[in-house]
Symmetry: C2
Subunit: 138 residues, 2 copies
């Protein structure tokens, strides 16, 4: 089974006026190049799937809410739930199919810090039911 992603535990610094949440430093191994950063909101129980980037490496962070990510090569599936209570950065190399589902009634916010500017040229898409994953298991 392939390693679909790597994960890094991120520091959360407590502050009575509001915590500081680390995201990414250029000195970290997960960082190669900055291309673009963007947010994706995902409503509770909504699913965005499936997509594959053929060139982009993604760094995914969920600062508020909770999001279930599923990765697949079409045969094996691997899922991970991230959010402030499991505050991880997920690094996804090119060539991995993925989808995600909003799991919290709070705003579910995904930040992607990617190594290239988004381009429809390098993205493939499939319908939600193309890969047989039981989204209710998340």
């Amino acid at each position: 089974m392939t390693n679909f992603f790597s994960s890094s535990k991120l520091l959360r610094i407590n502050n009575e006026d509001g915590d500081i949440l680390r995201v990414l430093r250029k000195t970290e191994e997960s960082f190669t190049e900055f291309g673009e950063a963007y947010f994706s909101i995902i409503h509770m129980n909504s699913i965005k799937a499936w997509k594959k980037h053929n060139a982009m490496t993604m760094n995914l962070i969920v600062p508020t809410g909770c999001v279930g990510f599923v990765f697949t090569d079409g045969k094996d599936f691997k899922s991970v739930k991230i959010g402030p209570n499991n505050y991880l950065r997920i690094t996804v190399p090119p060539g991995v199919w993925f989808g995600f589902k909003g799991l919290s009634s709070d705003i579910n916010l995904v930040l992607n810090i990617a190594d290239m500017v988004h381009s429809s040229e390098e993205v493939e898409k499939k319908e939600k039911n193309y890969f047989k994953f039981d989204w209710s298991s998340l």
Copy 2:
């Protein structure tokens, strides 16, 4: 009066499962170098002030909630409220004193994409009441 910051209107792409919010692309004028990204949460009516970066350029984005930023040279003050309803990226050059206040009962989240890794060496701090700004005016 100094220009304390510049601002860029950001694109929000509607999607029924959750919108996409642009943040920063390397091809934009606001981008020089990627150093570090981190989130600061600011509770409603809490104030974090005053701070000045002597080397860092900040790119500030508020994807959820509403945050009032105040910039000063000790004489003039300039404030701006940003959030999804006024979805701007604020670029702040080094040498500007700033503070910010949480204005929404939703989570107030500030993303800073900075051109250098955070270092206490280049940060100066003053007490909240050091500059006479009426925070209740925000």
